[in-house]
Subunit: 241 residues, 2 copies
Amino acid sequence: MSQTVSALLQLRDLILSGDLAPGQRLQELAIVDRLGVSRTPVRAALVQLQEEGLVEANPSGGYAVRAFSEQEVNEAIELRGVLEGLAARLAAEKGVEPERLTPLKGCLTEIDTVIGAARLTLADFERYVELNERFHHALTALADSPMLARQIARAYALPFASPSGFVMVQAIQPQAHHILTIAQDQHRCVVEAIENREGARAEMIMREHARLARRHLELAMHDQDALRHVRGAALIAPRRA
Amino acid sequence: MSQTVSALLQLRDLILSGDLAPGQRLQELAIVDRLGVSRTPVRAALVQLQEEGLVEANPSGGYAVRAFSEQEVNEAIELRGVLEGLAARLAAEKGVEPERLTPLKGCLTEIDTVIGAARLTLADFERYVELNERFHHALTALADSPMLARQIARAYALPFASPSGFVMVQAIQPQAHHILTIAQDQHRCVVEAIENREGARAEMIMREHARLARRHLELAMHDQDALRHVRGAALIAPRRA
DNA sequence: CTGGGATGGATTGTATACAATAGCTCTGGA
DNA sequence: TCCAGAGCTATTGTATACAATCCATCCCAG
């Protein structure tokens, strides 16, 4: 693995974990000391993080950790929903061979098994997150559009905008089962819509699916404990009281 | 202006003008000779161009100019329409103060004047492009979402996906007046929709508006002469006969 | 004659030295 | 006491030297 990639991964992790606070200036030499690579790959990583949106360039040079308002998080989620909606619609409109839907249906079955349990363990939630991400990636791939896939991947770069961003919040909240059941039904419906070439329906379902995450955000903003389970939550500015 | 920015602008220009052919490997030292800046800013510029999508990284190191299939261009335009549609919908749903619509209406009036002429000169088309871009930027700004604005700016980075990408094609085609009239009507309708807080309508108009560009692409792909007026057309792979 | 491996050149990846600049502090004057 | 300016320091921007790696060519063996 190259030093640049190493620096990128480590820096991203430091930012998302909250070790580097929002607004904090990122001094190159300090990062060099911390990561043990030279300035060149650190700078390269910073440029990429800026593109990802986790870091912003100071007009007079240097970078700072980006802070996100609650509204921006909402917009990021809405944007993700719109892009996934586009992918679902494109897939439905052009039609996909039945065998390409098999892996998606496999995800559905496995998720059924996970959320079928009477009481969900933390491991169950982690398994759900894994399956959920597999489902969303497979869905994106159905559109056969590398350009769109890339744009969606960019949206996922903000972890609180990604499909599983707020799932772990539910692990400590009573409505958990409820919400996962609803999400899973949307998964099932969107596959059906694509199968039947119902483009507009597929698009709307994915948009609504993303709005589940907005509801989670709303719940989590009232619950500091829940927010701790959300990767990157440290970047979200707390509500003004 | 920094060396990095200078390198970025020059390289982007070389790629879009076709001086660097699609698929061509970009050797850093060759670029250094050509641009007169050292490798460091050249490398920084290449990373940014990769994010813009004009250049792709070779798995074993180095970069090459990206080539686009006609289908990818279509997808890029569709994507732009979806994003602008989202911006228009958000603006309509939250409502915008009447005075913020004034600059947009100003654009409408000016465009009316330009396309009102019996016969359009090349200067008229250039003026149209300028006003059209002003209109689209102002519309994007109405959504009050820097996150979305940035995503739309990224879509515009591929010039053939930007709102004025194919306008100049019309300068040498007979349907010109026709198409500009239609586009301008869509401009007018979307402002009206936002004014009336008709979110769904505003969104659909912007999507359809983008599809005008897809039609232009279709026309231009048959006409090498027309393609020469499209910035970045050199990156579009010609149709297989 | 063909295939595989080794060697050399070309090219990218990394580190670091140097230059430029921005921001801060300290001093002097009003 | 407060403001302005100059100088210094800390930090980023740039160039370049060095290391690693990849690719191509050539030679030798089967």
